[in-house]
Symmetry: C2
DNA sequence: TCAAAAGTGTTATTACTACACCCATGT
DNA sequence: ACATGGGTGTAGTAATAACACTTTTGA
């Protein structure tokens, strides 16, 4: 199936349409869920805040296009990324009829620290509750993404995607508090997450945030797969 | 924003691509989740089983295109329908480079009884566990849709979308058993659904399936909205 | 009268919530 | 010695799962 494309268009009644990807990039910093926004570089609306995106090339798949855009700005190609929705209102883009498929992604705190601004685009992190006006329907995309992130986080262990591979329980708690924007009971959180056996405790401690130091854990993907098969779901 | 389209293409670097919608139509019949499949009418692969779909027109939104396709085959325009995913692998369609956005929909049993075959296409219902080989990546679409349906049904009361406005509890139970393909305890199901106050009992009974007759209920959308605000979720 | 589906309650177990104090350590 | 964040346990409440018999009525 990989080299079957014919050069002549067989579907003669159909009209081709421009198609783009836009990336919603989330991170957690300063105890808050944050969004990475960019200065738009093309007309119309050049200079306004925007999601990062690009047109899909004729010879690349949608998934590859999304990865390409994300990798171009972050430098990473192993980032958690999910398709959100295809936005296809007729006049969503005053520049032309353009379909846009939005992807949302979660960036790890340690990766965040490498400076993104070095990479080709003017950008900044903004708190999810102070998102500026963005071009086109990008605010709508972001709102849908936040809702999807919250739904997903409730039953799938994606909080880990926002942390380095080795993390502490207080860090993980902070991520969930940031995602849901509410306090979560410390002791109950611990009990629940440790009982699930989704975390393996390491022999090391992270002493960067306290004198006592906090044990480092890593996510146990084998347990996760096993629990998933049994119909377990993760609920915070 | 509604009449801003310019006739000249401003995005000069971008290549337009064909875009289509495909509809995954679910119903419940004979205690099983069923899928409506169609004989494909265009080359290539004409005559093989397929989802129903069409190209998106240059002057219609994606959502309108999906409604149009669904209404053309069913005659109904108030059917529950959600966007599933944009499928965009390079060579997913041997006829050309085509993006396809899949939608899934739930058809009510009473609507199903109006004969679809009268409406322009050769079609049949197939049980979800005996789905034939479909053209292109349509089997992949269906599998993703079943999974999404199950996830959605677990926390959103969409079982009702597969039933007439007035239904009995045994019917509703049957729908959930069909979606999850497993037995659900009768008494616990009743207790849970009645305690939620999502159902209003009518003074009528449906005597079509038993001599005793079973009370008819309807879904209380006001209670649902109220519960939703309070963070309630529906879990079977 | 009997077959077929509708309807009903209890108990044991498990999960959840709310809540306050001690621990370890670097300064 | 003290300030800071890390770590722990219990008890009351609510939700869940497992389980079997009676009711109604048309044929």
């Amino acid at each position: 199936m990989n080299d079957k494309i014919k050069s002549n268009i067989q579907y003669t009644n159909a009209a081709p349409i421009l198609a783009a990807v836009d990336c919603i990039i989330f991170g957690v910093q300063e105890n808050e869920l944050q969004l990475l926004v960019f200065k738009r570089e093309v007309e119309p609306l050049s200079g306004q805040w925007s999601l990062i995106g690009d047109f899909i090339k004729k010879d690349e798949s949608v998934a590859v296009a999304a990865r390409r855009v994300l990798e171009e700005v972050t430098g990473f190609n192993d980032i958690y990324m999910k398709q959100l929705h295809l936005f296809g209102e007729l006049n969503r883009d005053p520049g032309d009829r353009v379909l846009s498929v939005a992807y949302w992604s979660l960036i790890r705190i340690d990766q965040v620290h490498q400076s993104f601004k070095a990479r080709n685009h003017e950008s900044k992190w903004v708190s999810f509750n102070k998102i500026p006006d963005l071009v086109l329907d990008h605010n709508e995309m972001v709102n849908m993404a936040i809702q999807t992130l919250r739904e997903k986080a409730r039953f799938h262990p994606i909080g880990f995607e926002l942390l380095p591979a080795e993390f502490t329980i207080p860090q993980l708690l902070m991520v969930y508090e940031a995602i849901y924007n509410r306090k979560i009971d410390d002791r109950n959180f611990r009990k629940k997450i440790l009982k699930s056996e989704l975390l393996d405790r390491l022999e090391k401690k992270d002493k960067s945030t306290s004198k006592k130091g906090s044990f480092l854990y890593k996510f146990n993907n084998e347990t996760y797969k096993k629990l998933q098969k049994e119909g377990y779901y993760f609920d915070f």
